[in-house]
């Protein structure tokens, strides 16, 4: 349902007042929230993840204030494939990118691709034109469906472009958490990352090897199907990324 509908979260200063998914799936107009008083509330609206939004409008009371939230200077930037796209998640705010951004109270951009052909330099260069100063970049560089041959062909050039375009911020490379089903692409990925780091010791990269993320956790807790990470798995992955990012994000 995160595919087609609108998801929204409503908060006041103390707590989350409402979360709703798939709003508008069958309806033209839907009330997001009705409050008794006139408290200033924070609305976060997620658009459909894999559908085209052709028209949207927001109707508010005539006397209502509309206050733009403070945008942080340095958003978090996410690149990647199916895992970062949120395939396997029940809703957008359960994706690891959302959890990480919420933890650090930062704006973020999720520029992941739905399929496995995502190690393309053009995605990096296009993003770099629009987003110049992220506080850090997290990039999924290996997933279960991806082939060893594709990694061998693309990854080094992808890392070159990524670290060149975003040379001023930490870059966290992430391989999809896995459970041992497909090893050869991960081995290839690790080899290329290590070789790249040796070639470019000045570039600020870190690598979170997916083989360690779900260690000790039964697979059925964290996966939706053979290769998709579920909500629980996204939470575990987010926690790992948060632990790594905490070390440098306070200095930004």
């Amino acid at each position: 349902m995160m595919v087609n509908g609108i998801t929204h979260i409503v908060r006041n200063r103390q707590k989350v007042l409402k979360i709703e998914c798939a709003t508008g799936r069958n309806k033209e107009t839907q009330t997001l929230y009705q409050q008794k008083g006139n408290e200033l509330l924070d609305y976060e609206i997620y658009c459909p993840v894999k559908n085209t939004l052709t028209h949207a409008s927001l109707l508010v009371d005539d006397e209502a204030q509309m206050v733009a939230p403070e945008k942080t200077d340095a958003p978090i930037l996410f690149f990647g494939g199916p895992t970062t796209f949120g395939r396997g998640c029940t809703f957008p705010h359960g994706m690891y990118s959302s959890i990480v951004a919420r933890k650090f109270s930062r704006d973020y951009y999720n520029l992941a691709m739905y399929n496995s052909r995502y190690l393309e330099k053009k995605y990096i260069s296009t993003a770099a034109k629009a987003i110049q100063n992220p506080c850090f970049v997290a990039a999924e560089i290996c997933s279960i469906p991806i082939t060893k041959e594709y990694i061998a062909q693309k990854l080094d050039k992808y890392l070159e472009k990524l670290t060149e375009c975003f040379c001023r911020c930490p870059i966290l490379l992430v391989s999809q958490p896995y459970d041992g089903r497909k090893l050869d692409n991960y081995i290839e990925c690790g080899k290329i990352v290590r070789a790249f780091a040796e070639k470019h010791p000045e570039r600020n990269i870190m690598y979170l090897d997916g083989k360690t993320v779900f260690k000790g956790i039964p697979t059925d807790r964290v996966t939706l199907s053979a290769y998709l990470t579920n909500d629980y798995g996204n939470m575990v992955l987010a926690d790992r990324i948060i632990k790594i990012a905490e070390a440098f994000i306070s200095t930004i």
């Binding site: 349902m1 979260i9 707590k15 989350v16 007042l17 409402k18 979360i19 709703e20 998914c21 798939a22 799936r25 396997g88 029940t90 809703f91 705010h93 359960g94 959302s98 959890i99 919420r102 933890k103 697979t219 059925d220 807790r221 996966t223 939706l224 199907s225 053979a226 579920n230 909500d231 629980y232 996204n234 939470m235 987010a238």
Partner: protein, 349 residues
């Protein structure tokens, strides 16, 4: 996966003549957590009329009817030397239920199990893409392992056939490590909303993790603690080891809830006098949760009762990722609740 327009339609991509098919009636001995099969449909309660009479509320009646033939908690467990099986099913609805993934409402969630330890490992989950309701899928069987398939939580199976390769045997899976059954009575969360797939409702997780049979008497939106419901649950045919009650927010209002909670409990106690009862609190519903907690504190002086407080259990978790709508748990919430129930069962049952 092959999609069909009629259940009896010949398959194009699978050679059916290589298989012998078993319908739901002939699979009875391999079905667990299945109280009633009526005209080929799995149902939780045979006769809902006494419950209708007690509530006298048309909306609740409709919700009861809807949930009654949704086989949440039902599992098909078997051993076979067939290298593949065919799952052919016709579902009532072509679309996912609101507020959950298709794999939860309409998913057949497949596990393979170790015959000596009973440990289950997730294999795959299958469900017909929207807008399809009749499908056939060929499934690989892991050699030497038994198979367990969790049925959909929020869709009625109108027709079912399991195909086994000709000449191969279908036999019983090893017994559960605990020989008693845990009964669940509850609402939409207990029924499985909003786990990512059907096997991840907390009752199903308890079944796999604790190694026991369960029966899931859950009625989404219609869990109102009727005495006639207690009577229906009390007549469960299994040897019961424990009862889990997740009854709260579906009540018409807090007053109804407070007036019904104790009588419901006492009626169930008549059937299960010394069994452990586990009360699940109401997440983010303060009045309901407080009443359950106070009731538990009073009862624990003399009865074998236990309390799972979701507000406390979830306090340290990301509140937004935890549930789909501030009420219905994702897998995160489901596993937390199930872990707590298993902990209690390990010393109480």
């Amino acid at each position: 996966m092959e999609f069909l327009t009629e259940f009896g339609q010949p398959l194009k991509t699978i050679n059916e003549s290589d298989y012998s098919f078993y319908d739901i009636e002939s699979l009875k001995e391999y079905l667990f957590g299945c109280p009633v099969i009526s005209n080929g449909i799995i149902k939780k309660i045979e006769d809902l009329q006494p419950i209708f009479d007690e509530n006298n509320d048309a909306l609740t009646d409709k919700l009861l009817v809807d949930s009654n033939d949704q086989p949440s908690g039902v599992r098909l467990r078997f051993l076979t030397d067939s290298s593949h099986i065919i799952i052919k099913a016709k579902l009532k609805r072509k679309y996912a239920h609101g507020k959950m993934l298709l794999y939860c409402s309409s998913g057949f969630d497949v596990y393979y199990g170790d015959c000596s330890t009973g440990k289950l490992t997730h294999q795959t989950v299958i469900a017909p893409n929207e807008p399809n309701d009749i499908f056939a899928e060929k499934l690989y069987i892991v050699p030497g392992k038994f198979t367990e398939i969790h049925f959909p939580n929020y869709n009625c199976i109108m027709e079912l056939a399991i195909g086994i390769e000709n000449g191969e045997q279908l036999s019983a899976a090893p017994a559960y490590s605990h020989n008693k059954t845990v009964l669940f009575y509850g609402n939409s969360m207990t029924q499985g909303a909003s786990a990512s797939r059907s096997g991840n409702s907390f009752p199903n997780i308890v079944s796999r993790q604790f190694g026991c049979n369960i029966v899931n008497y859950s009625f989404s939106g219609a869990c109102r603690g009727e005495l006639s419901m207690a009577d229906a649950i009390g007549k469960d045919e299994n040897e019961v080891g424990a009862v889990v009650i997740d009854y709260s927010r579906n009540a018409i209002n807090l007053d109804e809830f407070k007036s019904r909670y104790e009588p419901f409990y006492l009626r169930l106690r008549e059937y299960y006098p010394r069994h452990p009862f586990i009360f699940i609190g109401a997440y983010k519903a303060y009045g309901y949760n407080l009443h359950i907690k106070n009731f538990y504190e009073e009862r624990r002086k003399n009865d074998a009762v236990y309390f799972v407080d979701p507000d406390k259990l979830f306090a340290e978790l990301d509140q937004v990722a935890l549930s789909i709508d501030n009420v219905h748990y994702t897998d995160i919430g489901m596993f937390k609740i199930a872990d707590e129930i298993c902990k209690i069962l390990s010393y109480s049952m």
